[in-house]
Symmetry: C2
Subunit: 411 residues, 2 copies
């Protein structure tokens, strides 16, 4: 199957927003094994929408449109699809009821324009919108299909996953299942090499999504039913886990490294504190970003100056003088001091040169020492990150959570 994406929205042509919808759909279609040769964006202009739709349909089997489903007069995507295929528009009563219910629940007055959102080309398959007022639809005619999706990204994603992805699967007679494995501490290119031979299958497929210091591996399988698809994922997952070992820290698309550390702490009924120098509050801020953080974090400290390391955390001034603040013994004393003054079960410390400059003693920029202190002792890791200041700090914080997670798994 060959697909094209037609994005409708003057705000895209004006550069007010980036076309993340096209990116999202493209990525998901690639995973579903659907080829995609072109993206087109036009404004909220009826003639140009219709012209671009015709061109896209001449080159492909299915065109997925985004945007132009709102209540205003500018929003004309469905109408142009109907006009292109020579179809009338008709009211879809369940959609109207859903729109009225949503408007009532949110306390907004129902307008005549909102009624427009419940009209669709005759014969269209309706795609309900679980998170907004604009339903989508699929129109099939002349051996081609047009899927009409809303523009707001959260509505688009919800509708794609819950409605269009199953529709595409049904059309191809397949059920599609996916599983995310979260991987930390292996770069993308090394990971590609380690898993190289596993990419060469069409079903299941393996795709990597990369973030700072971590990679998500998505395994997707298609089969006649869900159980078969899952049973196709399992051996590939086992093989990836066997190769990557403790680098796999979790599953699921929302499961960040700090959330993994949080969940482990909560399960164990333990607390953590941080002693941050170069990360300057990032570790605490990221943990506090997880709802429920107050169960595992009572207090935390940023000790940026040497004097603060000594006074707040009790780091020995002789050690600071002899080894400098960016050193293994200082990282160790920071973590142990933070654990002592806070009474927390665990403490994580960071000290390093995030940039733009390295140390006066020649220690290169990107050098960071990270320590984790616990009941059973303290471990320190020396890291050498390459990149800009923000990137080095983000990686250092992520490594702090990763080392904490590994220590908890060991002890």
């Amino acid at each position: 199957m060959i697909a094209e994406i037609l994005s409708v929205g003057t705000e895209l042509l004006m550069g007010q927003i980036a076309n993340t919808d096209a990116q999202y759909i493209s990525r998901r279609l690639a995973e579903l094994g659907i080829a995609i040769y072109r993206h087109t964006t036009v404004g909220d202009n009826p003639a140009r929408v219709k012209e671009a739709l015709g061109e896209a349909l001449s080159r492909s089997d299915i065109v997925i449109t985004t945007g132009g489903l709102g209540p205003t007069e500018d929003d004309l995507t469905k109408e142009m699809v109907a006009e292109y295929f020579g179809l009338e528009m008709e009211l879809h009563r369940p959609s109207l009821d859903a729109i009225i219910a949503r408007m009532t629940a949110t306390g907004h007055p129902m307008t005549e324009n909102n009624r427009k959102q419940a009209f669709f080309p005759v014969g269209a398959t309706i795609l309900p919108n679980a998170v907004g007022t604009a339903p989508g639809c699929v129109v099939e005619a002349d051996g081609k299909a047009v899927a009409v999706l809303p523009g707001p990204p959260h509505e688009l994603k919800d509708m794609f996953e819950k409605q269009l992805s199953p529709w595409l699967a049904k059309r191809s007679g397949a059920h599609i299942e996916s599983k995310f494995l979260r991987v930390f501490g292996i770069g993308e290119s090394r990971l590609e090499t380690m898993l190289k031979d596993l990419f060469h299958t069409d079903n299941p497929t393996l795709a990597l999504y990369c973030g700072p210091g971590e990679v998500q591996a998505r395994i997707t399988a298609q089969a006649k039913d869900s159980e078969t698809a899952l049973s196709m994922i399992a051996p590939l997952e086992d093989e990836i886990r066997r190769r990557l070992g403790e680098h796999v820290y979790g599953e699921g698309v929302d499961n960040s490294i700090e959330k993994t550390a949080f969940t482990l702490l909560k399960q164990r009924g333990e607390t953590v504190t941080f002693a941050e120098s170069c990360t300057g509050g990032l570790l605490a801020a990221r943990l506090v970003g997880v709802p429920g953080a107050s169960e595992v974090l009572m207090e935390s400290h940023v000790t940026y100056a040497d004097a603060a390391k000594a006074r707040v955390l009790g780091v020995d001034e002789g050690t600071l003088k002899e080894h400098t603040a960016v050193s293994e013994p200082v990282a160790r004393q920071m973590a142990e001091g933070a654990r002592r003054i806070s009474g927390a079960d665990w403490a994580v410390s960071t000290t390093g040169y995030a940039g733009p400059d390295g140390g006066a003693d020649g220690t290169p920029v990107g050098t960071v020492y990270i320590a984790v202190a616990g009941r059973g002792g303290t471990v320190v890791k020396e890291c050498h990150f390459r990149g800009q200041r923000e990137y080095v700090r983000t990686l250092a914080a992520s490594w702090g959570f990763n080392l904490l997670r590994l220590e908890m798994e060991k002890n």
Copy 2:
């Protein structure tokens, strides 16, 4: 003048990256008063690039391409432009010298493929690349123009600003100047209302760029020379500053609210510390994100639990019990305690409900108290933010820097 953007790159069709280049160019063209009716994206496929180029040129005066200028065999944008217009490719010696110099400086071996990057369609205007190996070019033929730009966003932006923008201005016989004003503490829609009558001019133009809690106003003017353009910006800038008063905190595209606070502190030779509850380290982390932060921040504390507020900062336990941790007096005592224990000139505290839940006493989610303590006393602001946990925390931290900035300006 009517323009189209043609983005070339299989990584865009696969959804590996979002097309932020198209957004950037669109925004800048809108500011320059150039109409744009369509974006097209195709993969690294010579036939499809040429086909899409022809279609785009049939509808517009200028086509701006991005991507496909790399050293690999896949990278064929320039070659397809030449083929479309029936032009030969020729070596541009200064570009080759620049590529050799860059490869030598970065210690990379020069390959035959890199030589390819110095070849251009005969007669093209070369656009040097100040931050990468791939120069761009403008090819003019048949009364139309094609501007060929590199794909990596930092190279694209640099080349657009330094090379293509002046070329476009020269073509239209105009000089273009821009000025950014940074505005804090007024929402986008209120700001639009306050400045409504100022948007209705073509030259200078006024555009708003929105971020969490803040807005940037960009004023752009075109004139026969730079001085005239600047003199057209000045009265509009004065009027905006008059209407927005202390809400304008700075100028320039890179000048964040924390950088403004940092610069003020540095100029005054003063230091700051933070006592963070709901922001959980964000204030410290954002300040440490500014290079040179060690001059103004020695230490900072996250006191998430009530007991930590009392023990670390000396907040009175009776006050905590009577008013709860999310209250004006606790915010005040947190800031004053942090200032006392650190010896810093200024202290900023935050305490509030970031979500998902509000207080057990019925205090609504989004309620945050922010205090700034200084030599001259303490001010406390009660804020009511609406949004998700991350958004509330980001706004609270930004407001902390804004209040600190206002206090410094007063004292």
